[in-house]
Structure formats: C-alpha cells, structure tokens
Amino acid sequence: MKIIINSDILYHSCLIRDNLSERLQKLFLECKNKGHIIVLPLTTLLEFNKKQSEFINKKISELENAYKLLSCFNIPFTRVEPSEIIKEPDLIELIKKCGIEVRVEKPTIDDFVEAHKRSCFRECPHSLNEKSDEMRDLIIWMIALRFARQDRGAILISQDVVHVHARGDDEANSVGLVRFKSVEEVLEYFDIETPAGILIRQLITPVWEDLLESGLPLSKEISLVGAMQPRFIQGTKGISNAYCMIKLRTTDGKTLKANIEMKIDNNVVKELKLSDILIDGKPWEKSYLALMPNKLYSSEQDDYNERIDSLKKLFGG
C-alpha cells in the first residue's frame, strides 16, 4: 500500500544532519516490514526543503557571527566556508536509509485542475468558511485520492484540517483512503492489521450501529484506528469474551479512546461495555456505556465437540 505523507508529519524543529527523528525512522521501518511504499507529494518535499533552508540560513548566520566574534578578539581560527559544512538534508536519501522504497509524486494536470476548482468554489474537503484559498493541501488531497483509487486503498498521514476533517469522510471512504493525524496513530493502525486487531474489527462491525445509537459522536463508516492490548477468552462455541482498548475517529476528526469488554455467546455479541471514554484525552459526557446489541458476528463454526471427542478417544473414552 502507498503511504502519502504531508509535510507537517515530517516537520523537524532543527536542521537535520545524519538521520530523521526516531519516530519517523520507526514509522519507515514498520512500513518497510509491512511492504508499504512511501509517497511524498512534491508539495511535501518542497515545504520540507523550505523549512530546512530556514534552519540552514540560521546556522550559516550563527557560524558567520562566531567567525566575526573570534576575529574581533583576534583569536586564531581556520575559516571553513559555512556552505561546505552546513548542507541541505536530502530527504529522499534519509528515508531510503531506513530501507524503504520512496518516491516523489508530482501532481498531474488533473490534480491541479480539480484542486483549483475546489479551492475557488470552497468544495470539500476545503472549508466553506475558510478565508484561505490555499491549494497546496488540496493538491496533496487529490494525489492521495488518486493513489487510493488506483490501488484500491492508501494511507494519508497529515495533521492538516483539510485532510483529516469529517468533510472528507465520504470521498476518502469511497476510495479506501485511510487518514491519520500522527505517526503514533499509523503505528497503532498497523497493530490492528494483526490477527488480534482483525478479530476486534470483526466483533466491532456488527455492533457499530449500536455504538452510533448510544450517542457516541462516530461517523456511519467504521472508524477503528487502534486496538490495544486485546485479550480473548475462548468458550465452547467460539470466543466468549473480548477485551481491549480501542481508538475510534469521531465525526469531527477527534480521537475517542475507551476500554471495551464484550460478552459473546455462540457468535452473538450479547453485551458491549465501554468504560473510561475519552475524546482527545478529555472525558466524554458519559464515562461508561453498557449496550446489549445481540448481534451475530461472522465467524467460522466452532468444532469444539469434535475436537474434545477426539481428545477423549486418546484416553480410551
């Protein structure tokens, strides 16, 4: 899968010399392990370079000032041209150093035209009320949609409101574009692609309507972005209990976190309890929810009776 990254995710508060930040290295390593490809829209690369250039100019200025100070006090030194030692980091090479495939994507003319139109008409995901006619974010949006459409899914990592707002939900969902606001969210998402995460998704899917009806500010589409510390208890007819801490995306792009506990009987989710419900770290209006969905989840039929009989035969039973 292609992972499109906005410049705010790549932001460093200083000049990069040898390596990207540890969190980015971790992200790229995980992406590599999962077989993903990093896509940097040209806009992202340009913005990254622009910010790093500012740091370069600052460092050059600091070095020149240091030379002046040394000269002022007649302190001997060997002058090295700042441009020889303070160099612009090569983002592509730094990402490649993590062992992952990376490509820079130039916007197509279609991307430009559509972004231009949406900017002028304030169309989604552009805000209707924003004064800005900013096209950069829309161009990245168009590139992300294009890849998702082409590959039947992609990931966009960005903090920009244009990219993560619920205004873009329908369009993103229609092409399988999954959006995250941080490196941490992506890493958690990778975790929900594990067998345990997939099982949690299977259990959450049939009860999603019940979650919506409970008043939780969730979109119609299932927006599971994390399933941490999952645990299951086996029963005689499939799983009998499931526990985990889930992270869901709210309609306005915030993160809802809660501990969940499910009781399942014969593949029917009988009870669903949510506790410690937080939205962006703040308690939701209710800290606890107890639902009785009584919904069947898709699972293979358990062959427990046959297996236990087979074991009993070993004991002569």
Partner: protein, 141 residues
C-alpha cells in the same frame, strides 16, 4: 495410554510428552492438545489446535498466544506444531510427522513403554522414559 506422536511410539505411558508441566497429546488428525497438570486438577489449555474453553489467548500471526491471568505463557503454532515458551523458560518443542524436535535436539524413531512420562522436556534438559513427577495432577479430562 498408547499413541504414536512425532515419529515415536508410546505404549502404556501416562503422559507421552511432558513440556514443563504440560502434557502434550496428538489426536488422530495430528492436532495437538495441551493440558497443564501443575495444579491440583488438570487444566485444558489447547484442544485440537485451538484454545480450550475458559483460556485467555490472543491470536498472533503464527497461531495464538496463551495467557494466564494476563501473563503471556507461550505461543502455539498449529500449522508447524511448534510450542514456543515466552515465560516458561522451556526450549521450543516441535511435533513433526517423523520426529520431535526439542530446542536443537531431534528425537526420532523411539519406542517408549511402561513409563509415567514418555519424553520429559525440562528447563535444563530432556529425559526419555521418566516417572511422572509427584507434584503433577493426574492426567484426566
């Protein structure tokens, strides 16, 4: 108990393979069952390649991880029939079609008869034809 497992023939044994305090049994379809006999009564942990009822587990890429009160104990890979200790301090154990591999040791083509335990895998070694340790529960289900 009489059965063939991992290329060995076990005759008149109480526990054919003991992995730490867990009896390992293989049914006619080649599926493994694990029974913890460290307590007063035997506790089924795996039945026919799947977690037993009441057992806490998490599915993982290679199979599933068995927990006890939140503590991860071991991973079982049903496809390769490999038991890998997490917190039991035991060597990996694989029940192959023709052999049993314990750590780097391969046990093949033996007949074990009239012992409490056919093959005992412990933290510090392997024993063939051992008495059933007295502290262990009777293997009944």
């Amino acid at each position: 108990m009489n059965l063939q497992m991992g290329g060995q023939i076990f005759r008149d044994v109480q526990v054919p393979l003991l992995w730490g305090s867990r009896a390992v049994l293989q049914d006619k379809l080649g599926r493994l069952s694990l029974i913890d006999i460290s307590g007063e009564t035997a506790k089924l942990e795996i039945i026919g390649d799947k977690p037993a009822p009441g057992i806490e587990f998490v599915p993982v890429i290679e199979g599933f991880k068995i927990f006890d009160s939140g503590r991860p104990l071991y991973v079982y890979n049903p496809k390769e029939k490999i038991l890998s200790s997490i917190d039991l301090g035991l060597p990996d154990c694989q029940i192959g079609q023709w052999e049993i591999r314990v750590g780097s040791n391969v046990i093949s083509g033996n007949v074990v008869e009239g012992f409490g335990v056919g093959i005992a895998v412990m933290k510090d070694g392997i024993a063939m034809g051992a008495p059933l340790p007295p502290s262990l529960a009777k293997l009944v289900i």
